[in-house]
């Protein structure tokens, strides 16, 4: 067997030009591999690496926008499958939630909106409601089925005379969280301003008095404790996208 190992028979018939290419390729592969192995002092934080990764993430935003189907409905579920209470998610723990006072709260409207008069909780809670029982998927990998109701966002934007040809709908939240979604997702039939969960007014940790709930985005895009909505053509980074999470976050 050892005799065969050193037989250079397999080295016959090489094409020298091909060799050079393969060697170059191999060198590239090995250095990239070595780069990836430096996780101790995370190479992802290196400026040019991070720039490249974010450029790919931005490219992925475009890909997701292109494959988004504005009228395709997400699967819906039976009330018996609903998890109560919903699962908490925020950039802090549930004990640190600062409840919003619904009596003094108002929803401000900003940007390309015709009627910018603020809304009180009472006014919003009187609007026609839509109920959706949909899957919440967190970027971490967990999911649950939730039953949400409240005014449809498209209806609401039309009611206040928003420019539906604008590119983004931006949400500013009471906990200094910010989030924005593309207009196509905002106008999707399963995108609502949720005020209730499983038929009851949403509890404090889950976004009382007003939060976004859309069937077409990962959990973190669903802004809670909304205090202002802006319709705009300007792209601004949001709470998680600033930290490198994908902005479009479509599902």
């Amino acid at each position: 067997m050892t005799k065969r190992i050193h037989t250079p028979a397999i080295l016959r018939s090489r094409k020298p030009v091909e060799d050079i290419n393969r060697r170059g390729l191999l060198r590239g592969a090995v250095s990239l591999g070595a780069l990836g192995m430096l996780t101790g002092c995370d190479v992802s934080e290196n400026d040019s690496v991070q720039k490249t990764l974010r450029a790919v993430s931005a490219w992925n935003d475009g890909v997701q926008e292109a494959i988004f189907r504005p009228h395709h409905l997400a699967p819906t579920f039976a009330p018996s499958q609903v998890v109560k209470p919903p699962r908490f998610n925020a950039y802090y723990d549930i004990e640190d939630v600062k409840p919003v006072d619904g009596a003094t709260w108002t929803l401000e409207l900003v940007g390309r909106i015709g009627d910018k008069r603020p809304w009180t909780a009472q006014q919003i809670y009187q609007l026609p409601e839509q109920e959706i029982i949909i899957r919440h998927i967190c970027v971490e990998g967990w999911d649950y089925i939730g039953q949400w109701s409240g005014p449809n966002l498209r209806d609401f934007l039309q009611r206040v005379g928003a420019d539906l040809t604008a590119r983004y709908v931006y949400f500013i939240c009471a906990d200094n969280y910010t989030e924005s979604i593309d207009m196509a997702s905002a106008l999707h039939p399963q995108t609502i301003l949720a005020t209730k969960y499983a038929g009851d007014v949403i509890a404090d940790p889950f976004g009382y008095p007003l939060r976004l709930r859309t069937s077409t985005k990962l959990g973190y895009k669903n802004a809670k404790w909304i205090k202002a909505i802006e319709v705009t053509n300007d792209f601004r980074e949001t709470f998680w996208s600033k930290q490198g999470f994908n902005w479009f976050a479509g599902i």
Binding site: R4, L11, S13, R14, R22, L25, A29, T39, Q243, G244
Partner: protein, 205 residues
Amino acid sequence: MHWINAVAIFIMIGSGWKIYNDDVIFGFLHFPDWIVIGKWAQYGLQWHFFGMWIFVVNGLAYLTYGIVSGRFRRKLFPVSIPEVFATVGDALRFRLRHDDLTHYNAVQKVLYLGVMLIGVLIVISGLALWKPVQFSPLADLFGSFQTIRLVHFLCMSAIVAFILVHVTLALLVPQSLIAMLTGGPVVDAGEPRSAAAAPEIEATP
């Protein structure tokens, strides 16, 4: 193509482990920080959604080439089941022959075909995980969202197992590595080309 794939797989597995850690499927399994790619969750995700393009584009090019050129048909078929058992028997008695690297034995055929199928399945399950709403009919084939995650995870496990065997055996038969670095013998027995000067093989670190 093989080495591009090796880099892509390395990125996908390392970053996939980082993503897995955020919400483990098995309570006993948590990948240690030194083995994953990406210190924070967003870095793991960035690498994964970067590596996926390399893996998919390179993989599609490889499969297309293998099918169109007839390479798969020539080298991976037919697969004879009795021959698989015979090869396993030979291997256990250390009687495997490696004198003709252009010919795959039956076990190699089964493993290479199997890992290609797993590669396709990991992409399909990955698509279903990435876009369970846009591709909801695809996601429905798997059942629940957590089932898709499990399938994706099991495909990864199968690929890792394959890599362990594949790399071990390649190291045991070093001439196969030399062939991989130099381009190897010409598979189609055409006119023998004139042998070039002694090859300079760069050592891989």
